[in-house]
């Protein structure tokens, strides 16, 4: 079995992107429900979720092991397993969404997504050039 550096070498970045993606969807839910009475703001803690995904705990490792047809297409589904619902900061309508907080979080989360994508981009280009340079050598 040929072990290539990209078999496992990208795992951290991939899972980081999965979590960032999940956080963006969480923000979308909160923004959509900013004025829904009784809605509790959702939070997806980045570090805790990433650690759990990397260690395979709390997830069903659906991407590889589950026979379900949907598993391959939505391995991110288990990211939301780590969502917590915020109770503090409720207004008169018992809603705990804070628009400014969500906007700030979205800015940071987006930047991190773009940055990690950039890292992966660099890796792929590096490996590609390493293989290409081998040609004719």
């Amino acid at each position: 079995m040929m072990i290539s550096p990209w078999d496992e070498g990208t795992r951290l970045y991939e899972r980081a992107l999965d979590v960032r993606s999940g956080i963006h969807e969480t923000i979308a839910s909160n923004m959509a429900n900013e004025e829904t009475p009784g809605y509790k703001a959702r939070e997806l803690p980045f570090h805790k979720t990433l650690t759990a995904l990397l260690s395979g705990q709390g997830t069903l490792e659906v991407h590889r092991s589950h026979p379900s047809h949907f598993a391959l297409f939505d391995p991110n589904g288990n990211v939301f397993h780590h969502t917590i619902h915020r109770e503090e900061g409720a207004g008169l309508d018992r809603n705990t969404v804070n628009l400014e907080k969500e906007m700030t979080l979205m800015a940071e989360n987006t930047l991190m997504y773009m940055t990690v994508s950039r890292f992966l981009d660099g890796r792929f280009k590096l490996w590609k050039s390493a293989i290409d340079e081998g040609r004719g050598g």
Partner: protein, 147 residues
């Protein structure tokens, strides 16, 4: 970045805010209407928001199969209700719709309040749009990996 799911959530938000804007516009347009379809002065209307699972072909089936209820949630207008606050009453005996004592009932619409709501709905609309735009940016970036 799962743009389809982001789009579904944002789409539901934009739709809901648009409905809210329509209701606000109706309130403002009828702020002085003394006649309404069901008789009497116009009664202010308001929207009621409710969390909902947006239209999803696959992932929500997946999530519910595993009992995970923390999947992204959209929003919808579950109801349009009448404002229960009392109507305004003014003394205006010359008005054709005044009662036998000369009192006229006017809608319980406060234009200032409606303008505040209008700004709020517009801001919410734009904020949700920003979520979609950002999602698009991330998707485009992901597509460029390795190119």
């Amino acid at each position: 970045m799962n743009l389809d799911r982001v789009f579904a959530v944002v789409g539901s938000a934009l739709d809901s805010q648009r409905q809210r804007l329509n209701v606000i516009a109706g309130n403002l347009a009828n702020a002085e209407s003394t006649r309404s379809p069901n008789g009497g002065a116009y009664v202010r209307r308001d929207v009621v928001f409710q969390t909902t699972a947006p239209e999803q072909p696959f992932s929500f089936v997946f999530a519910s199969a595993f009992g995970d209820s923390s999947e992204p949630a959209g929003v919808k207008v579950s109801d349009i209700v009448q404002d229960t606050r009392p109507l305004r009453t003014v003394y205006d005996p010359d008005h054709p719709d005044a009662d036998e004592k000369g009192y006229l009932q006017l809608p319980n619409v406060n234009p200032v309040e409606e303008m505040v709501n209008l700004i709020s709905a517009t801001r919410a609309y734009e904020a949700n749009l920003a979520v979609l735009e950002t999602g698009k940016t991330m998707t485009l970036r992901a597509l460029e990996m390795g190119r």
